[in-house]
């Protein structure tokens, strides 16, 4: 009873923060002046032809991004997780850095690099620079930026799922064939569902991305929702404009659920005691190290360098601190609160899915994934549509709206991390506690949570990163005077000196890295204490 009630409460909260805002927004698209009408949809599809190019662009960009990210991410995941490549930990951390900030900042970095007075002007010939600069604005540049931004997703998933491969199976393979064949016929097929899930996730994230394509002047369909909301002040039309995107998202998630989800659930890391087999690279060690280092330089070091170099002016950092210290402090508080609530909330969602504790466990998983992949602006618009009423004014005017936005958008992360962690915690641990007479909440608090602690802490850290870097939804719902640092950076981009903007971005990245380093040490301390 206790379990059922708690999990139902979690589902209700998920519906309130995630589903109801979307429903409110779509409700406004079909109920106009108290009457049911499909007028906005008729209007949208009557002008269908003009929408095909941006829809085509969105699908092209998303497909190419997912394809490139999957190939690159899996290759890097294998090199960094499965071989004896030197410095692989350092390179893995380096290549993951783009996850720490929104993709539009990467776009800004590349603009700083390739502008005619940019960082590379003294290094690259002018004609080459002009050519590269031309490529930046359009599909190639957009693709490069999104690949850099989302590659860590597939790379990290590959690293994670490699631990699910039973080393005995690989050893059996090695008795018959060498490593390339073993990787091809044993390792990769085992983790294929996880890789495909990563690719699908990236496809959906790229499909909903707005900031970078807008900056790089590549017309994509999510801008249509933004346009409807801004130029026409029309909730209903904005919701209608989002419907093709939503339809594609639902279709892809349905495919994922039908063909992949069960297989992904079954991918569980092997017990910590089992050592993963590493592939010796032999004479390929140095070339592989060079190749990965070059890639890390191109994807991470160069843009970050551009950011740092363009921030180097005597007054940039003092001015940045003066302008944004309050929003930085707020961002850290909001992110900490958001991460904590996400961890609690996501834990129970993950528990519900793992144990299939309620009949609607599949719906919960799908809903959290859907919300994760929707553009943040859509979630923000939905939250305003639902909560902006006199009765809920106290909540609407508070930072609670920002927290709601985080919960709606990122529960899938903590839920899936919990799911993966619980897969490694034997069910008998909880059952043994149950047989002693302990009620459900006590079993969770004293047995399951401590056993799952590393995963819980990882969920908190990842929730913290994503809340800290969030822009889409929080930009629309933050209460007056309580903007977050990413929102502050975005607003200051209008006529703010480039050095100031760069300094603010460097501060955002640095604060995130420092927070992660401190919290990562805490994780190691807790782990060793256990």
């Amino acid at each position: 009873m206790e379990r059922r009630v708690t999990l139902l409460v979690v589902v209700v909260v998920l519906v309130i923060v995630g589903l109801l805002p979307l429903a409110a927004m779509f409700g406004k698209s079909i109920i106009v002046d108290g009457r049911l009408t499909l007028g906005v949809y008729e209007k949208l599809f009557a002008n269908g032809r003009q929408h095909w190019p941006p829809i085509g662009n969105s699908l092209t960009l998303a497909t190419l991004t997912a394809g490139c990210v999957t190939l690159l991410g899996v290759s890097l995941g294998l090199l960094l997780g499965k071989t004896d490549l030197p410095l692989r930990r350092t390179l893995a951390v380096l290549l993951s850095i783009p996850l720490l900030f929104p993709p539009y900042i990467l776009a800004v970095c590349w603009f700083n690099l390739l502008a005619s007075n940019g960082v590379l002007v003294h290094v690259i010939p002018a004609r080459t620079l002009e050519l590269l600069s031309g490529w930046l604005f359009g599909l190639p540049g957009c693709l490069w930026v999104l690949v850099s931004a989302f590659m860590p997703v597939v790379m990290i998933l590959t690293l994670f799922y490699l631990h699910a491969v039973n080393p005995r199976l690989e050893e059996a393979g090695m008795l018959i064939a060498r490593w390339p064949a073993t990787l091809r016929y044993v390792t990769l097929p085992t983790i294929l569902p996880g890789i495909l899930f990563g690719g699908i996730l990236v496809f959906l994230l790229a499909l909903g991305e707005v900031g970078a394509p807008m900056f790089l002047r590549y017309a994509v369909f999510p801008v249509e929702t933004l346009t409807q909301f801004s130029a026409f002040y029309d909730f209903g039309a904005a919701a209608a404009a989002a419907s093709p995107l939503l339809a594609v998202t639902l279709l892809v998630l349905a495919f994922e659920r039908r063909y992949l989800r069960e297989k992904t659930y079954r991918l569980r890391p092997t017990t910590p005691g089992r050592r993963m087999l590493l592939v010796p690279l032999g004479r390929w060690r140095v070339p592989a190290l060079l190749a990965v280092s070059l890639l890390a330089t191109a994807m991470v070091v160069l843009p970050l360098l551009a950011l740092v170099v363009s921030s180097l002016s005597p007054f940039a950092y003092p001015e940045a601190w003066n302008k944004a210290a309050d929003s930085l402090a707020r961002s850290l508080v909001f992110a900490a609160v958001g991460a904590t609530l996400l961890t609690v909330f996501g834990f129970f969602c993950g528990y519900l899915i793992h144990h299939r504790a309620l009949r609607l466990w599949r719906a919960v998983d799908t809903l959290t994934l859907l919300l994760f992949t929707l553009p943040g602006t859509l979630i923000g618009v939905g939250l305003i549509a639902l909560w902006n009423r006199p009765a809920t004014g106290f909540l609407y005017a508070s930072a609670g709206m920002v927290i709601f936005a985080y919960l709606a958008q990122y529960t899938a992360l903590s839920s899936r991390i919990t799911l993966a962690t619980l897969g490694n915690v034997p069910q008998s641990l909880e059952e043994a506690a149950q047989m002693t007479g302990a009620p459900w909440l006590a079993r969770i608090a004293y047995v399951v949570l401590p056993a799952a602690l590393p995963g819980v802490i990882a969920a908190w850290l990842i929730g913290f990163i994503f809340c800290l870097r969030d822009l889409g939804a929080s930009m629309l719902v933050y209460p007056a005077g309580q903007d977050t640092l990413p929102a502050r950076i975005y607003t200051l981009m209008a006529n703010g000196a480039p050095s100031l903007i760069s300094a603010l971005c460097v501060i955002l990245v640095a604060v995130t890295l420092i927070s992660l380093a401190i919290l990562g040490s805490l994780l190691r301390a807790v782990g060793s204490h256990r």
Binding site: S428, E431, A433, Q434, M435, T436, G437, P439, P450
Partner: protein
């Protein structure tokens, strides 16, 4: 009145019957062993008695009180006051030996607060683990872990104890040693024991009665 009674209990997974219409009665203080190969449903029977699985049909009573009937549990596992030793022992890696027993007593309303420390000491001495009270499971040998699992199952003085292949992963010497320990504890405490194993020697040693089980699909045709 039997300690445990199963009447026409059935359980299926994904349409495949694992337990079909089983009826068993276990008297108080008896040591009943369920013997059979893998997949014959013996662990399922144990889990049904514990309440960790719900029978599709049939009825289960414990000490005369119905605990499962009509396709649902009438009494949840945490209220059946049954001690259980799991096949993988299910020791909590973050708790010390004495914390295991403290937790096992915390929700036992029959043991009052004042007597709990004494009860824990008794249980540790009973399994000869008093000198390792502050150790965590990772610091113990296989046999020591077994004894901790036994102590946890027995510390609250349950009337019924279930053991699911508790000795299957141990070497022969340790296995025999712990069988003697189980019998000694049974003689001291007098609980009703249902013990699952696929090992005939173990079954003959431990059980005062052995029930041989075989997979449902191996049954002779119904007449």
């Amino acid at each position: 009145m039997s300690a445990i009674e199963l009447r026409a209990v059935s359980k299926a997974y994904d349409g495949r019957a694992v337990v079909d219409g089983i009826s068993v009665s276990v008297e108080r203080g008896e040591r009943v062993v369920l013997l059979g190969p893998s997949g014959c449903g013996k662990t399922t029977v144990l889990r049904l008695v514990a309440g960790l699985e719900v029978p599709d049909s049939g009825a289960i009573t414990i000490n005369g009180s119905p605990v499962a009937e009509g396709g649902r549990n009438l009494v949840e596992p945490e209220r059946r006051h049954i001690g259980m030793v799991f096949q993988d022992l299910a020791l909590w890696p973050h708790m010390t030996v004495s914390q295991h027993l403290e937790f096992a007593l915390r929700y036992d309303i029959r043991t009052d607060l004042a007597h709990r420390p004494a009860r824990i000491r008794e249980a540790l001495e009973m399994v000869r683990m008093a000198d390792r009270a502050q150790a965590k499971p990772g610091e113990l040998s296989g046999g020591q872990q077994q004894r901790v699992a036994l102590a946890r199952a027995l510390v609250a003085n349950p009337a019924v104890v279930l053991m699911d292949e508790p000795l299957s992963s141990l070497d022969l010497e340790l296995n025999r040693y712990l069988r003697r320990e189980i019998l000694r504890l049974h003689a001291e405490l007098g609980f009703t024991l249902v013990y699952v194993t696929h090992n005939r020697e173990e079954a003959a040693d431990i059980g005062s009665r052995v029930i041989a089980m075989r997979p449902w699909q191996d049954r002779p045709p119904h007449i």
